[in-house]
Amino acid sequence: MLTVENLTVQFPGRFGTFTAIEDVSLTIERGEIHGLVGESGAGKSTIGAAIIGLLQPPGFVSNGSIHLGDTDLLILGDDEAHQTRGKRISMIFQDPQTSLNPLMTIEDQLIETIQTHEDISTEDARSRAISLLEETGIENASQRIKAYPHQFSGGMRQRVVIALALCTNPELIIADEPTTALDVAVQSQVLDLIRGLANTRGIGFLLITHDIGVIAQTCQNVTVLRGGQVMEHGPTQQVLNAPEHPYTQSLMAAVPRLDVKLDRFLVPDTEEGVETAPIGRSAEDAERWLRSGDEMLGQGLSMEGVTVKFTGARDSLFRKPEVFVALDDVSMTIRPGTVMGLVGESGSGKSTMAKVLTGLVQPTAGTLKLNDSTLPLARQRGRKDPSRRVIQMVFQDPYSSLNSRHRIGDILAEPLWLYGLENDRAKRRDLAAAMLDLVGLSADAINRYPHQFSGGQRQRIAVARSLLARPRVLICDEPTSALDVSIQAQVLNLLKDLQARFSLTILFISHNLAVVRQMSDDITVLKSGKVVEAGPSEAFFNDPQADYSQELLSLTPNYVGQKGVASQTLVTEV
């Protein structure tokens, strides 16, 4: 049905013309769900945009052809192209929060879309819209259709987005990372819906994602993209389980697995390789300096009966503002020198726990302990409290956790200066350079700015910064969720290494169970601010106790890699 041949897309730009897509071919049949995987920047969205004819300027198709049925999409005039959009091809974007016009009711948006492409009365359009919403799994659709987008939850909004894409009966739907913003439960529902639509209505889907698990569970065929070029394509089973291309192989190996814990990941060879030739100090210096600290042992961290309440905005004179309980009597103990995994769906209170520990959020009740001494709560914790140095944090988003206006050297020197660890300016620089080497970056990075680094490199810098405080406890809040699998693997490897070498205590927060399995010794599962299960990690994965844990595990898209590949990895790495 859809045939893309030798597609090349270019972006003329400041530093010459950039070829985002080169010589890409793919076909999608009726009712087929075609997966498109590849790391960030591989050109996945660009292919989608080229097909629907909405390439961002100054991008243009410089070569190749795109046919939908008998129609050559590339030679259509503006108006004709606009006619096909919605009518024959639709698109679903990643973020349901921003894809809907906040000022129009769901009804208006649906009816408008239907009437745009069909001469149909408003009444008929409405009943079509309602049945579509019901089909996508929105209960009580005839009433809820009157609502505005903000009155729907994220999952419901994504259903509305899908309903909008469907309402004109298109032949092809391009789904650009349709579930990235959703949590696992909702994600599996949406994927079910897509599968159902492909089967019952024969709609072809181009499913763009970077999640191999999603591909494994949803797609018949898959195309692996890298640097704008097709690395490998074919039936899903074949590509995932018996990849031929070396890149695909290493990519598959880097996917964290839910079924087995690995010591290290095999890292695909990327441009991100370790740059060597440090100036001055080397990793050994950094290591020596880290070990020269007084208390070398990892410290235990625990919380007891912590409750956190957030007060909503006051909206009535007579009613008290609503109180939202983000954490409800939560207790947790992290043993010294171990990794505690903290999992739970979005909004369950994971980050709030991290904030309580780091003193950013004031709990209404509860106590904290660092080793055996009491750790003051947020407001009581002075700026000079020793725990400020001992507990360090690595954030989720490496793009925002480094101040983009500061040089790497300044960022790294800050903890040294702040905690009075090193009073000499030059020595601070040396140490920073040495630490960069330790985390696998060239020491000349010291004079550059964060935006000159990739996400993975930045996350290494963030780790380096926290290490320079000589911490005993590291809190990592989703440290890799913004990264591609291959880069994620590198960072996780780094964390594992450091943890082992310096026997750090780590609180590892993630919503990705597979990742947690790879990292943690113990695990705590959080739901709606309550602990539902806690215990040793392996025991949990092999035999989860709470219903919620079981559900969570079963919903997580699982890519069961070929056993052989996994053991190979182990062999090469040891």
């Binding site: 944090m393 925002s400 101040n403």
Partner: protein
């Protein structure tokens, strides 16, 4: 540093935006003329002995004026070119100073309000409301009046410029405060700020060293726009008689004086400074637009 500057996106897009280049050239010429006025100008409007009433009301050279006075003279015999150079000097000084004070005041309060939130924020924002309820012209009238009442007239005359600067600054700071505050609200939840807070850094350091550089983009845009409006406001205040005295030739006072001659045939006394003012303000605004586009890559 220099190389980073020349490779920066800003310079790249600048060289590809003709309007910005023209605007920058105009600004450079006027600002340069203003800065070097004492060396370029043939007479000094502040030095009463350097011009003579006898030369009054001469038309520009091409209308048969005296070759000594390219753009003619005003009713005091002052050379228009010199007056404009000095006038731009004074206008730009007032503009820059009031913009600078407004920036410091507004950004300071806005940062603190956004950072601490709560009651402090509420107080600052209410003060901002009061300020907004008293538009620029009224604020200037008020400050002007108060200064006249409080200061002995001898000091007053010397402080007219200062009073004007304060009055204009007071009417401009709210913009900065609101923008800074809004940016801080966004910024303070970003991880790099949280990281600094967790580390136990002083609030002042977090605000100034960490947050401030990251919210400079929108502030810079406001700075240019407000520089332009400060210069215009000075002109308007001069028109209302609460600006500068006529012997301190700002562009505003030159235009005010020129207004008397717009019908009497001596058009150059009004229109030469008006055109210079308009060119300056338009150029600054164009540069402001350009900056806005730079800082908002999505609009490129």
């Amino acid at each position: 540093m220099m190389s980073r500057f020349f490779q920066s996106d800003g310079v790249y897009y600048f060289l590809r935006t003709p309007s910005a280049i023209v605007a920058a050239i105009i600004v450079v010429i006027i600002v340069g003329g203003a800065i070097f006025a004492p060396w370029i100008a043939q007479s000094n409007p502040y030095d009463l002995a350097s011009f003579s009433l006898m030369d009054g009301l001469l038309p520009p050279v091409w209308q048969g004026g005296d070759p000594r006075f390219l753009l003619g003279t005003d009713n005091q015999g002052r050379d228009m070119v010199s007056s404009i150079l000095y006038g731009a000097r004074l206008s730009l000084f007032i503009g820059f100073m009031s913009m600078a004070i407004a920036t410091v005041l507004g950004v300071g309060l806005g940062l603190a309000a956004g950072y601490y939130g709560g009651r402090f924020d509420a107080i600052v924002m209410r003060i901002a409301d009061v300020q907004l309820a008293l538009p620029a012209i009224l604020t200037a009238l008020l400050i002007d009046g108060i200064s006249r009442g409080l200061l002995p007239p001898s000091v007053q005359q010397d402080l007219r410029v200062v009073v004007l600067i304060i009055a204009i600054a007071l009417s401009l700071w709210v913009n900065f405060a609101r923008t800074a505050r809004a940016s801080v609200f966004v910024e303070r939840n970003k991880d790099y700020v949280q990281a600094a807070m967790i580390m136990g850094q002083r609030p002042s350091r977090v605000m100034l060293r960490h947050i401030l550089p990251n919210i400079m983009g929108p502030l810079l845009v406001i700075m240019t726009v407000d520089l332009a409006s400060a210069i215009l406001l000075e002109a308007t205040l001069s028109f209302l008689g609460i600006g500068l005295p006529a012997d301190s030739p700002s562009l505003g006072t030159l235009i005010r004086i020129g207004m008397q001659f717009q019908l009497s045939g001596e058009w150059w006394i009004l229109w030469v400074p008006t055109i210079v003012l308009a060119a300056l303000v338009v150029s600054i605004n164009i540069l402001g637009d350009f900056l806005r586009d730079i800082f908002n890559p999505r609009l490129r």
